[in-house]
Symmetry: C2
Subunit: 214 residues, 2 copies
Amino acid sequence: MTQEKRSEAKANQVPEIVVGRLPIYLRALAHMVDEGQRVIASQELAERLGMSSAQIRKDLSHFGEFGKQGMGYDVIYLRDQLRAILNVDRVWDMVLVGAGDLGHAIANYGGFEGRGFRVVAVFDSNPQKIGRQLARCKIRDMVELPDTVREMEVKIGIVAVPAAAAQDVVDNLVAAGVKAILNYAPISVIVPDDVHVQYIDPVAHLQRMSYYLE
Amino acid sequence: MTQEKRSEAKANQVPEIVVGRLPIYLRALAHMVDEGQRVIASQELAERLGMSSAQIRKDLSHFGEFGKQGMGYDVIYLRDQLRAILNVDRVWDMVLVGAGDLGHAIANYGGFEGRGFRVVAVFDSNPQKIGRQLARCKIRDMVELPDTVREMEVKIGIVAVPAAAAQDVVDNLVAAGVKAILNYAPISVIVPDDVHVQYIDPVAHLQRMSYYLE
DNA sequence: CAGAGTATGTGCGCACTTTCACAAAGAGCG
DNA sequence: CGCTCTTTGTGAAAGTGCGCACATACTCTG
């Protein structure tokens, strides 16, 4: 039954908002493993995350029963289950487009490793940059993008180009078969229904908070 | 009436989820201004952002009446109104804690300027780094943080330190009077009710998408 | 092994969000 | 100026999400 529930989860349409919280739980659990904590109650996890324990339990219940009544959750077990649910019990290859300052920071970011992702190719359209080394990758010409993405069967793209170029880059990635895009350009892009986009826009977050300031 | 509505907006508790969408609208409008578009209908804006036009209209209606029936919205006017609502018709000073790779990337990020924010001070606890120049700032010792934040009356802090140090840094910022924190460390932190926190965790966004992959 | 204590998983109702759909308001044209 | 066309702003309806509260199940102690 638990197994059945887990495999049906995607068909059963787990709410997006729930999926969005799973990485938060996973992040917290990973730290607890580091700290040597073996067991955690939804109550305590909730306090750490500033949310209600019922929400955590209900979120997890979409995917199965992971806790032991009277005890709580085995930290390592739950972490591994969440990794499996989120498909990060493997490593996903990503291509990075844009080798400017931002692209450099992303390529050198140490936080991907160990959490399920890595950059395997970098592209830029500036001839000055093409051929240079960036982290473990040689910077390639944008025109090579379609072939590379297809050959390597990459499903995730990171966009780190100026806003004006972002939609164009996204169209290229989508045409090449990419199904998930992490967009650092401060602009909303349009993609087909079967492609996912997430935005990294620190300024948008800051503005959200500045509303409440003063 | 419009004016009244605007000034009452904060007391009237505009839903957080609405406030969170305003920066998205502002971002899109800023681009339209650049592109020379003068007028926009909620319909067209909605298509660009992949949402419903009714939602845009209802969101804006929390703050006043900005459109002209039969015409749509004056792009520049609406942009300026949103800037005022979000309090970014001024420039907010921010302190950055952490001068590692990530801190460097943030300090050199050109996207803050022009959208209402700037970094005015950088701190690190590593004696090797203290005193060095980073962007326009000299890196200061963490022990100077409380005095500096208070003297400069800074209300926003950016955390770019390892996860293990994040809660400690946040506590320091809060004690010094910071009311908004942008946290790049991949860990949830605890703050008093009157302090706002937003998280930048690219991996969390990636995991959210990898759930749907394969 | 029984009884006390603890924490899960979930049905239910409330609250919040989104969408629908339309009256009202302005633009433009003849 | 009146008629048509467009698009806003918004009540009301539909749809989602959240937390309470409790039955259930497991642990631990004596």
